[in-house]
């Protein structure tokens, strides 16, 4: 009887081991990845570089502030043709403010304010855990691989495969898929850097896309630091003044 019971317990244990880790663990890891990538409220500068197959490139510098899981505002500092253009994202709502033209207009996360492979969802990225649930987690080549599924149909990518360094809990690579299962782009996280105050994260994110062969976009993070920000900084009326927070 005891033998039977033990063998049943053993069988159950084997079955449990065969099934990938439950999504609760994955969601908890995803939240840790989010916090390791940035504090709850912070400011940062980013340089965006678009590279074309012929070697030509275009660069943009933007200043951004983020608070909570789903509020982010950015303003272009250079080049001169883009200076002052500002974007605000509150959850799924994104607005673009063009200086002199006046009022902000609503835009979508699939569009790109810079051109190139990064779209607004990448540039105005929310916390991954705000937009995705972890459906499955597995060990692969010394990394954790999280299978993430969008919480709603309005998220830019239907699903993500995120490879995470299991010690540092930082992403190494993310593949972004459309609902059809087609690979849209791949993000590569590089150059882990100490930004101070315990914030250690990749300073470079590269992306390429099978849809745009030979093109590459790079985002370089500079001066990322924790900052207390007023809620009013994330409003349409404040959008023209985001640069004053620098």
């Amino acid at each position: 009887m005891i033998k039977k019971l033990l063998s049943m317990i053993l069988m159950c244990m084997c079955l449990c081991l065969a099934v990938p880790a439950c999504s609760d663990d994955g969601d908890a890891i995803l939240q840790k990845v989010d916090r390791n990538l940035n504090p709850e409220a912070f400011e940062m500068y980013r340089k965006l570089i678009n590279l074309e197959p012929d070697g030509s490139k275009k660069e943009f510098i933007m200043y951004s502030i983020k608070k909570g899981r789903d509020r982010i505002a950015s303003v272009f500092i250079s080049p001169a043709s883009e200076k002052g253009r500002a974007t605000l994202r509150l959850g799924e709502n994104i607005w673009l403010y063009i200086p002199n033209v006046g009022k902000p207009i609503r835009i979508t996360s699939l569009q790109s304010v810079t051109g190139g492979i990064f779209n607004n969802a990448d540039i105005m990225r929310l916390d991954y855990s705000a937009e995705y649930n972890c459906e499955k987690m597995e060990q692969q080549e010394g990394l954790l691989m999280l299978h993430l599924k969008a919480k709603t149909g309005s998220v830019a990518y239907d699903s993500l495969k995120m490879w995470v360094d299991d010690k540092k809990l930082l992403p190494d690579k993310i593949e972004c898929f459309a609902s059809s299962g087609m690979l849209i782009k791949t993000l590569y996280f590089k150059k882990i850097t100490d930004f101070g105050n315990g914030l250690v994260r990749p300073a470079v994110v590269e992306t390429d896309s099978p849809l745009h062969k030979g093109y590459k976009s790079i985002m370089v993070f500079v001066r990322m630091k924790k900052r207390d920000l007023p809620d009013e900084a994330f409003t349409l009326n404040f959008l023209s003044r985001v640069e004053n927070l620098r």
């Binding site: 570089i49 590279l51 490139k57 250079s78 009022k103 569009q111 009013e232 009326n237």
Partner: protein
């Protein structure tokens, strides 16, 4: 011989350099963190702007009413050229809670009338920002209210946009305005109140309306759930009292809907009889707009707006004006007397020469961002249809930015419509324009 060889060597070396640069440059990038640190260093002042060269070719419709009004006593042929040179300068200076901003436009143009130019202060104001919830601004400033892309019936204290080029910066009015913002945690996410005072005198805002009066306007903004809502109000002696409401929201992330509604009291509605006499009737009118913006999976953005101008000229009145112009022109040809044509010109200036002066319009624009993997290239087509008389304009355009800070735009505008319709009676059949802008700071 040696000189030719030298030139050939330089030429070949140049080609090799270009080839190697591209071959080795592919997929590589370099960045210097110290250089980026230098680039992001904030200065208290900023000066920037752009240089512009814009040649335009007009193809004239010699049978049209507006051509007869302008060229009745001269023959300029079937085409006209215009060469425009522009310099926009804008700058700012910030110290503590105070900041100054200015924007000027300098223009030089050369056309069949010779050379001319002007310099305008488009905006120039002082801002005081003691904190994120309160801002006070005074000076010449664009106050752009409303949610529409091509039309803004609720923009009570702004100059009207040009629907043919709605993204162009406007000239401001002299105002004193405040902005109070409050954020909340519930369904009402943001509440903002923006009052404005706008004086109209002989020295400032002299084209706003009746002079020597102080006017008041206000906007109350709500971000309720995920929808932008504004309630707007204007009162004063320079223009009649008006009330407005607008909204914008996303039905899906790639599908936006917006609308505006303006109720204008005691508006002087104009009508024209067959003798070319102008009469006005005072009544309350409605101006409204309903629009959508839709983005397809392959990055084509469609913008469609329906605009109703309750105070606009109706079809019969427009036909009366165009017939009167024809009659005045015939009189001029028979007698050499231009009195009737002068009267017709005055009449057209106060009615049909305004931007989109008639009752109902449909605005359509489709822009395709970076098709065929051509970065920074956007072809687009825009059409404005006068629903009242079924005439329309079609504007295909190509916008390309081959280098940082350099923007090229090539566009043609083709007008079509029957006799006695708005676009059928415009001065041009079509115009072709190249715009080259170089931005600097």
């Amino acid at each position: 011989m040696s000189k030719a060889l030298f030139v050939l060597s330089v030429y070949v070396a140049g080609l090799v350099f270009i080839f190697l640069q591209h071959a080795f440059g592919q997929g590589e990038y370099k960045f210097d963190l110290a250089e980026i640190e230098k680039e992001i260093k904030k200065k208290p002042y900023h000066i920037g702007g752009f240089l512009e060269f814009r040649p335009v070719l007009f193809s004239l419709d010699q049978e049209s009413a507006f051509h007869k009004l302008r060229f009745f006593d001269q023959d300029e042929g079937t085409t006209l050229e215009q060469y425009n040179f522009g310099l926009r300068l804008e700058g700012s200076y910030q110290k503590g809670i105070a900041s100054l901003y200015f924007r000027t436009d300098s223009r030089l143009w050369y056309d069949y009338q010779g050379r001319d130019g002007d310099i305008d202060l488009q905006e120039g104001y002082l801002s005081l920002k003691p904190g994120p919830i309160f801002t006070l601004e005074t000076g010449k400033k664009v106050v752009q209210w409303g949610k529409g892309y091509a039309f803004n019936p609720v923009a009570f204290v702004s100059r009207p946009k040009d629907p043919d080029d709605p993204a162009e910066a406007l000239e401001g009015y002299y105002v004193v305005m405040a902005d109070l913002i409050k954020s909340f945690g519930g369904p009402l996410k943001t509440l903002a109140f923006t009052p404005a005072i706008l004086p109209a005198t002989e020295s400032i805002n002299d084209d706003f309306g009746t002079l020597n009066h102080i006017n008041f306007a206000a906007k109350l903004y709500f971000l309720l759930w995920d929808t932008d809502l504004d309630i707007l109000f204007f009162t004063g002696e320079s223009r009649t009292t008006r009330y407005g409401f607008d909204f914008a929201g996303n039905i899906k992330t790639n599908f936006e809907i917006h609308g505006e509604l303006a109720w204008i009291t005691d508006f002087d509605k104009k009508s024209i009889d067959s003798e070319g006499n102008l009469s006005t009737e005072e009544s309350d009118i409605l101006r409204c707009l309903l629009g959508i913006r839709y983005l397809t999976a392959n990055e084509i953005t469609f913008t469609v707006e329906y605009y109703h101008n309750g105070g606009g000229i109706d079809k019969d009145d427009a036909e009366n004006l165009f017939r009167f112009v024809d009659h005045a022109y015939d009189t001029f040809l028979d007698t050499g007397d231009s009195v009737q044509l002068d009267k017709a010109a005055r009449l057209s200036r106060s009615t049909l020469a305004a931007l989109k002066p008639m009752r109902d319009y449909l605005y359509f624009r489709a822009g395709w961002k970076e098709p065929f993997d051509i970065l920074y290239f956007t072809p687009a087509v825009t059409s404005i249809i006068n629903l009242t008389d079924r005439s329309l304009s079609i504007t295909p355009e190509l916008v390309y930015s081959p280098e940082t800070n350099l923007e090229l735009r090539l566009r043609g505008t083709f007008l079509t419509g029957d006799k006695n319709t708005e676009y059928g009676e415009k001065q041009n059949d079509y115009k072709v324009e190249l715009r080259i802008r170089y931005y600097f700071n």
